[in-house]
Symmetry: C2
Subunit: 234 residues, 2 copies
């Protein structure tokens, strides 16, 4: 997926402001409608250029989409690299919170990129969806796992923790957090949808705390609860 070029020289030679305008409109269309319902006619209508030009630039709708996707992946990678470097040496749960916060920042800056990702997630019939997903899902494998393993050796996480399971688990929670932030009705009434900075920050802390400590009462394994008489509050 890396080496392939989805763009023709005719497009490359274009003045960069025109290139940006074209990509901007295309990203907007794809993020709003998803791949299938996105319309080239509508794009060229908004751009005020001829339909043929788009095909001269990209060859096909698919190539246009892939070019944008590649661009998006590059942005994500850069963002992740930034957080990883910027949180080096910190406590694991701090790093986690920073990663989640960075996800929110990313979505705030590039709202339409995440939409494009979500819209293709479950369209299996999608051409090359497997490749695209593999590329994007490096998150949990390339990003989270090393951090987890470091934290285990640093004694911040249980010694017997299964890194793969932990990566899956965190990926689930973090991804859903982002989904809840930018898609309605995914927040189980937590009020995450398009929430402002303050709320997000609090909820991130709450979530991370839950990841840290789990849900069970402090003392009791599976069996009967011995915490009945513990009536301390606050």
């Amino acid at each position: 997926m890396e080496k392939t070029v989805y763009v023709r020289p005719t497009f490359t030679k274009l003045p960069s402001d025109k290139k940006e305008r074209i990509l901007d409109v295309a990203i907007d269309e794809f993020s709003r409608c998803g791949y299938d319902k996105a319309s080239i006619n509508r794009m060229v209508g908004r751009l005020g250029i001829a339909k043929g030009s788009i095909f001269q630039y990209f060859g096909s709708k698919k190539n246009l989409y892939f070019h944008i996707f590649e661009h998006a992946v590059a942005l994500v990678k850069r963002s992740l690299k930034g957080v990883k470097a910027g949180s080096e040496g910190e406590d694991f749960f701090i790093r986690l919170a920073m990663s989640l916060q960075a996800g929110i920042y990313f979505i705030r800056r590039y709202p339409r990129i995440y939409q494009i990702y979500l819209k293709m997630l479950f369209q299996e019939d999608f051409p090359f969806r497997a490749d695209l997903l593999k590329t994007i899902r490096l998150f949990s494998i390339d990003y989270l796992r090393p951090i987890i393993e470091e934290a285990v050796t640093a004694g911040q996480l249980r010694e017997d923790l299964d890194p793969e399971l932990a990566a899956f688990f965190l990926d689930a929670v973090l991804d859903r957090f982002l989904q809840a932030y930018c898609v309605a009705y995914m927040d189980s009434g937590l009020g995450l949808y398009q929430a402002d900075e303050k709320v997000i920050e609090e909820r991130i802390q709450d979530c991370i705390e839950m990841v840290r400590l789990g849900m069970a009462t402090g003392d009791s394994p599976p069996g009967e609860s011995a915490a009945k008489s513990m009536e301390h509050r606050a």
Copy 2:
């Protein structure tokens, strides 16, 4: 959404085997292609009936979809009711495991239903998606929350646990588990995709255990770790 009828008497009067065949093909088409790409032409082709008949039965593509969706929601509700009743009185984490296991069973029995749900999840432009999602997302609100609250009063969960947060959290993990089971590349290398009963059962236990105990070492709150010298193994 409950009272509305998406089906015309002409369809109701049909012999039930024909009705089932039609719904079966329609469910298949929708689950494979999603709403937009699903083709009425293809359905009637496979069914060997006239296109007009479908519109005589349902009036529109949307109605056909809604009828199926309603059917699906009923199935889910029934399944949930079953687990809830069948796990009454059990320990919270047992109930959790049973719920997740029931989700897997459900997907095994009705693989295409879950696909239909996934395919509409992030298509915001979808007509009435809000209503459909509200109906389906009752899971975390109507199903999980009462169970959580019971468990808090029973002393199985932290006293200071925020039920809304817990519901969100569990919904995230459980839903992702199901997604990983039936969609490729969502399992972060855990091997959940179309895994067999044995693997699933183990992984459910692992996940629930992680929900129970969290990830941190047993003793240390945020600050420095005091577990460095604890070199017990296994």
